[in-house]
């Protein structure tokens, strides 16, 4: 275990977190070397898809840090970070990867010690989670499929639109002025995440060649019924279509 050195990536916002990391340096506060930092202007720039991408590519863990709520240099940027991170957590939960492989923290420009502690903690957290199952050359196929599906879902229109509209929907309301409660929204979100995740799983599978609903159901451990309903959605989106019919069973393939 101790021989395992986690490869982690940290997204730091320019104004507070990155400055806090610099302060740790100026104050010579020592911390583990495991994290590689990517500077963004605002933590709100970080998309769930970006994080999932890194996990897919074999990162053992990814941390996102921004200004404390209320301190955001861009006034409300980190509020968006929060919402996007919530989606990221939902999707990661679907993939079967350990939830502790990602972490969101706020760190101010005055918190050098705290930043060092965060890196220490996070490194230990990942160390105990163990190496990612997705590391090449022998990644866990099922989990790899899941993380790809999750990434595709995160980058897809539906989930991005939902997260983007969350604030407006639960505060001022939509263009027709009808508001939804946070709970209603959460329900809608859960539902959407599940659908998008499954749809993309199926879509990815079909990209490797035509399959019947039954086969897919077997491979994904789902009810054929459910698969079929997703298939309908996939066809509506024009992502898949019936390739051929073998003994009456239609085989579907990605367009």
């Amino acid at each position: 275990m101790s021989t395992f050195e986690p490869n982690t990536v940290g997204f730091l916002c320019n104004w507070c977190s990155y400055a806090g990391a610099d302060l740790a340096g100026v104050s010579r506060i020592q911390y583990p070397t495991n994290m590689r930092v990517i500077k963004v202007m605002c933590s709100g720039r970080v998309e769930p898809g970006m994080v999932l991408e890194l996990l897919e590519a074999g990162a053992d863990g990814v941390m996102v840090t921004g200004c404390h709520i209320g301190d955001c240099h861009y006034i409300t940027g980190n509020l968006h970070t929060k919402r996007k991170y919530a989606l990221l957590q939902r999707l990661l939960a679907k993939t079967g990867l350990e939830p502790q492989r990602i972490r969101l923290e706020w760190n101010s420009a005055a918190e050098g010690q705290r930043f060092a502690n965060l890196v220490k903690e996070f490194t230990e957290q990942i160390r105990s989670a163990g190496p990612t199952p997705l590391r090449a050359p022998t990644p866990d196929a099922a989990k790899l499929l899941n993380i790809r599906a999750a990434k595709a879902a995160a980058n897809g229109f539906r989930l991005r639109a939902l997260v983007g509209k969350e604030e407006k929907l639960v505060t001022t309301g939509n263009v027709y002025g009808d508001r939804v409660t946070q709970d209603e929204f959460t329900k809608a979100m859960d539902e959407a995440v599940e659908t998008e995740f499954q749809i993309h799983r199926i879509h990815i599978i079909l990209q490797d060649g035509p399959r019947s609903v039954k086969d897919i159901a077997k491979q994904l451990g789902m009810q054929p019924r459910t698969v079929l309903s997703y298939m309908v959605a996939l066809r509506q989106r024009g992502w898949v279509d019936v390739k051929e019919a073998v003994e009456g069973t239609p085989l579907y393939a990605a367009q």
Binding site: G25, R28, L54
Partner: protein
């Protein structure tokens, strides 16, 4: 496309980096990275000698991208960028790897791993550099003229200062005459100057100033555009007018609460507000023997949870005036807001002259009852721990300033926010008290929050200074770190407009989103949010971030 020629400069920073990171090894490693055409080390890259070496290398090795691995970009990026520009490389083709503050200084005990990390950081920087694009810093012309909404003391003072600085100013005032709330004041605390002594000369110089035009009995009906170039529609008594200005100052002031039903106000003529007392004093005084003033009448409560700042001082000032004219004055208060030097003195003077102060508790406010020949105020005084009854001939309620009735309408027109109490909300409570988050629009006076005349004037002058900045330069220039909407992908859903805190994105005539580059602050939230992924965040593109991340994970 062929990867551009990249130059890498690794700084030893004396021993700050070199003592913990094997710099020569790192340089050798850098040379092996894709696209790196040249790499060298410097003792101090930020020294003039170091900077010259960068410029020479750019020329000698015809470098198209520059990576410096040294300290933090937060302090040194501008210096290196300037150097690149001098050597003909656009500043946005420069990238830094922070191998001191975030590497050598924090891994002093693990030189090998620090060296590895430095190599990784440089690999990441190089990967990003390969994808960097030159940036043109957007500039827009600024019309050197200002619209001041509101012709009270704040608006007039702001207008006058800007006009004196050489800018043209238009004041739009609802009322038939300039002067605002101050018209209804008798004298002003702390020094009891006559209010008229302040406004009349001000009105004089404003109305006679060659660069100021005034529209009274007029109101702003429409606002379009952005900093430097706002199109304004006004309704004047002579019909609609339109003008174009570079900046806008909101100085609409506030209104004074008339507390219907509170302490018999509106039911008994002997219960009046502080501002009504001002009018009486202006008209020559009152003949009541005993006057009782009640503070926080309608403020610091559930409905209006704010302190109106000026009421205590106004009450104390008026109480002194009344005592001078032989009346007896009581002030019933919760917390006396006589802050700072002048108001502390005013409070002491009042106590010396025999104004009587009685504290009451929010939980147990006083009650007022009418008797045929006088009024009775009953209150519980915690100080003496008793119920006290006071006979009064006149009761004066110190009521708060409240937002103007059409604040909401105006805020929507200007696309600037109001805070929970309905006053205009500045960009940052501490460090940007006069700016709105939206460039080119500023606030001053009681439109922002209750404040006294001196404070309003200070803020007005401040607004004049803030507004003068873009106008003095005639143009606004911002970093090229801005977002850009791909018109072919945009579906016009407007999500980006919702999330942008600076109103930097607008819908164009095609109903599609469009970034106003000069107003964009480059946070990238819109890019991260756009459902269609139609927005490119320059200098922090998806591809650049992805490249950095994947480079971080490369095994070597």
């Amino acid at each position: 496309m062929t990867t551009p020629r990249i130059g890498v400069f690794v700084c030893r920073c004396g021993i700050n980096i070199a003592a913990y990171v094997d710099v020569p090894k790192v340089v050798e490693y850098a040379k092996t990275l894709p696209g790196v055409a040249y790499a060298e080390e410097n003792m101090y890259t930020c020294s003039s000698d170091g900077l010259n070496k960068i410029k020479e290398a750019i020329k000698r090795h015809s470098l198209e991208r520059v990576v410096v691995a040294s300290c933090t970009p937060r302090t040194h990026e501008p210096l290196f960028q300037a150097t690149c520009e001098e050597a003909g490389v656009n500043k946005y083709l420069f990238e830094m790897a922070n191998i001191r503050d975030q590497c050598s200084w924090v891994h002093m005990k693990e030189p090998e791993r620090a060296t590895e990390k430095a190599e990784d950081l440089i690999r990441m920087a190089v990967a990003k550099a390969a994808l960097l694009e030159p940036g043109e810093e957007p500039e827009i012309d600024v019309n050197p003229s200002t619209l001041v909404i509101g012709g009270g003391v704040a608006g007039m003072r702001a207008a006058l200062s800007l006009a004196n600085q050489g800018f043209t100013v238009t004041i739009v005032e609802k009322e038939p005459s300039l002067g605002g709330k101050l018209r209804s004041f008798d004298s002003l605390f702390p020094h009891k100057q006559k209010a008229s002594g302040i406004i009349e000369p001000l009105i004089q110089s404003v109305t006679t100033h060659p660069r100021i035009s005034v529209f009274t009995e007029s109101s702003v009906k429409s606002v379009h555009g952005f900093i430097g170039n706002f199109d304004i529609g006004i309704d004047t008594k002579k019909g609609p007018e339109s003008l174009n200005v570079g900046t806008i100052i909101v100085a609409v002031g506030a209104e004074i609460l008339k507390p219907k039903g509170l302490y018999l106000y509106g039911e008994d003529p002997r219960v009046i507000t502080q501002s009504e007392l001002e009018l009486m004093l202006r008209a020559g005084g009152v003949d009541s023997k005993r006057i009782v003033m009640i503070q926080c009448a309608g403020s610091r409560n559930e409905e209006r949870p704010y302190c109106s700042r000026i009421c205590c001082n106004e009450a104390v000032k008026n109480a002194i005036t009344l005592i001078e004219s032989g009346s007896e004055a009581y002030i019933i208060y919760r917390d006396l807001q006589t802050y700072g030097i002048h108001y502390s003195k005013l409070e002491q003077e009042a106590k010396r002259r025999g104004v009587k102060f009685l504290k009451y508790q929010a939980e147990r406010p006083p009650t007022v009852s009418a008797c045929p020949q006088s009024l009775r105020v009953s209150l519980y005084s915690p100080t003496v721990n008793e119920e006290i009854d006071l006979e009064a001939d006149l009761i004066v309620l110190s009521t708060p300033l409240i937002p103007i009735s059409d604040a909401k309408e105006l805020s929507q027109m200007l696309k600037v926010p109001l805070e929970s109490n309905g006053f205009f909300m500045e960009a940052h409570v501490k460090l940007r008290p006069i700016d709105f988050a939206t460039d080119g629009i500023f606030v001053c006076g009681t439109a922002h929050s209750p404040k006294d005349v001196g404070e309003s004037i200070a803020q007005a002058l401040g607004a004049a200074s803030r507004a003068s900045i873009p106008m003095a330069k005639r143009r606004v220039r911002t970093a090229a770190i801005t977002s850009q909407v791909d018109q072919t992908k945009c579906s016009g859903c407007g999500t980006c407009i919702d999330v942008c805190p600076y109103n930097a994105i607008r819908k164009n005539e095609k109903g599609l989103a469009e970034t106003i580059a000069a107003v964009c602050k480059g946070c990238g939230v819109c890019g991260a949010t756009c459902p269609e992924k139609a927005i490119t965040m320059h200098h922090f593109t998806d591809e650049q971030i992805q490249a950095q991340g994947l480079a971080a994970l490369e095994e070597d």
